[in-house]
Amino acid sequence: MKKFVLAALLISSLGVAFAAATNGEPRLSNMPKLGLSAGKYGGTLTLSLPASPGSFNYYGITDNNTYTLIGNVFEGLVEYNLETYKMEPNLAQSWTVSEDGKIWTFKLRKNVKWHDGEAFGADDVVFTYNNIILNTEAKGNSAAGFPKGIKFEAVDDLTMRMTLPYASGAIIQQLRTFIMPKHKLLKYSIEGGAKPSDINTVWGTGSDLNEIVGTGPFKFSSYTADQKVTLTKNTNYWKNDAFGNKLPYLDKLEYLILKSPEAQVAQFKAGTVNALNITGAQFPDLKQGEVNGAAYKVIKALALFGSPPHLSFNFDAKDPLLARLFSNDKFRQAVQPAVNRQRIIDDVFNGLATLPGTPVAPVSSFYFNTIKYLGEFDLKAANAGLDALGLKDSDGDGIRNFAGGKNIEFSLIAPLDNAFFAGGPIATIIQNDLKAVGLKANLQTLQNSLVFSKLNAGDFEAGIYGFGNQPDPELRKAIWQPGGDLYYWHRAMRSSTPGGTPNFKLMKTWEKRIWDIFDQASKLTDQRKRGALYDEWQLLNAKNLPVIMIAKPANIAAVSNKIGNFVYNLGPIPGYVTNHIAYLK
């Protein structure tokens, strides 16, 4: 079987990520390109967490606070390049792929040690995939990201082979998931004779922190419930900076647990917390402080992640008249010009958002620009579109009526406490503009988790919500592929059996085409062909409006002037941290 070296290709086409220095040590060579410099050693960086972690076991829980902490302690085979957002080698030093795309052979990095001094090797990788990542009883497993029938085997101490049932274009994205130490977890695993669900019970927040060993730049040193998590430097970390200095620079990394945004800002202003993700609403106050000479800066980044809000109409609303109206593509196309995006960006986000693109983040290589399909805010056009649907205000009360005389009135639910956007104010602006075109929306603002529950159960008429952007559309297939588990505005198409094929008969022509696109793209390895398919999907979305995208919030952070090498390219997303290159000036 002819093989070619993919890693070499990656390096030549995408800019050097890691290069071997003369002594063979891996270096973060693109630091100068990102404007980063060699840091000073020592000191403590203090950040905040919005709640206590639920566990220190990444695969035993679904909890953003756990993910954030674990990103400092554990590593995966590959990692994002902070400049190109492509996957680059991490614990895997290089890999080769067979011509049919099914067999991947990974060469693992030598001289990587767990925090307790044990050597890292192929056994750990195979153990983690087979016993934890693919174990559907683990509360935080990632089995859904891998095709059924995938196999992981150790070839020798530092070589691991992955065999896929079919070629998969986005599989590399999944390999970022963290590798766990076999010598610590064997006795809680299936392989070690334990029940599959036992893996959930290890490394709870009450456990001995010395038992939690990773390969990452930091290790846990203490935890005080609802107050603080402290991590200390891993002095044996394998990664070097671009200049040959060992990483990390910091001696200590602390997370203060601060539940309210007010408490976070207060601790930031007091100088205790060194960096903070903030929202558009907090921006004026902190920016004013910066202008008045406070020792921090407010920075804005077009980042990879972050949730753009959208407006959805339930194709399967309980009221049959509304269901028929909402599932009519022409209705949603008529409503789009009544969404005043610029006002929402100016008033709700304080200008710290841009026009939305597609469900793909603008910095992703899969992004296809469809801005021109958004049109302008134009109530006349919206009125004309609704008139053309035969929806007239027959009783003169200012609200359009269905043919039978019933007012077109529906509820609009929006989240109060979404981390990325203020659902209430957005919904109020939309409600007002819908009223101006004769549609009566009754606003209902609820907690984010309740809004999601109601939406995904189909218990709504219209809603405002947001799903996170991911670098590869395959990762968000459950949302955007019609019939998917999160394609909540047209639930009737979902399969009655989990994982089964959806009900194609209920799909609109464009929905069927999108389904096919996702199905095909997931089995292709040629990224250009995948890109072309996803371009077509983004265009279909922009024209047919399964949901109406509202805005893409910018990622804003406030950072103390003491902190150097603060990287914000990934945005405020749990599990993606760059504290190994941060330092104190």
Binding site: T136, N141, A143, Q227, T272
Partner: protein, 323 residues
Amino acid sequence: MFNFILKRTLVIFPTLLAVSFIAFFVIQLQPGSFLDSYLEDPRFSQETVTRIQEQLGLDKPLIVQYGLWVWGIVTRGDFGQSFTANRPVAGLIGERMFWTVEIAALALIFSWLIAIPIGILTAVRRNGVVDGLASFLGYAGLAIPDFLLGLLLIALILSLNGKNVGGLFSNEYIDAPWSFSKLLDHLAHLWLPIIVIGVNHVASLQRQMRANMLDVLNQDYVRTARSKGLQERIVIYRHAVRNAINPLISIAGLSFAELTSGSLIAATVLGLPTIGPFLYDSIKAKDQYVVITLLLLSSLVLMIGNLLADVLLAIVDPRIRYE
């Protein structure tokens, strides 16, 4: 008296059972389930959700879930597992209990120490300048929500270049072992939550005490005491205050439970590691066994507080007998 205490103690158990039963079914009225948070995460398949549902026993009928939980308490003293932390509920509550009790007790003592003297003073010097000022401050204290007071004080501290803006310790002392300097640091942080949580109670207690005193000062026995030629000080402290304070003892019994769960928003704003925000987060996450256990605890504190108040009342007031 002994019979009374025994009877009241025995009543606690069926009451707790009823509370837990109602609480369990009220929690189920929340739309959605704990597992909804899983569905939104791109990593999870429907299969995982089903498996976890089985692991947590959420696939069993509600009455069976409830029965198993009660059985666990009775037979093993096990209050169930937290869904969000994969840990027994009791340990999670234990971690937060000390600070909750500390802050609640100190805030209660603070509010009594301030409110009772002010209440007495304003009743004796009725309609004077002090009374007017105290009433004004009292109304202001009642009207300003505790969390707002907390935010205002934080803003004040920040404008004075202070650092102690919430929490119970400075950053460097949180995980340090106990020492004298850690204690000092703790005290430097503690006054803020105690004032914020206590002030509301000061206002209402002070108004109560004033009203009781005015009531008592008009009684015949106070007139008799005065006409005997007793010093005014003795009339007030020995005769009036001792009678006026009785209703406040009953209030104190109730307020202990309120201090643990009632200061939720203030505790969140001030970043306190107490039960209130923990309960709120657990309700949001639909972590059912944590929620019921906390509600049980809160009812237990309430009932014990009431019982203690009744006993105390009998001790301070010889007219009250429970036989």
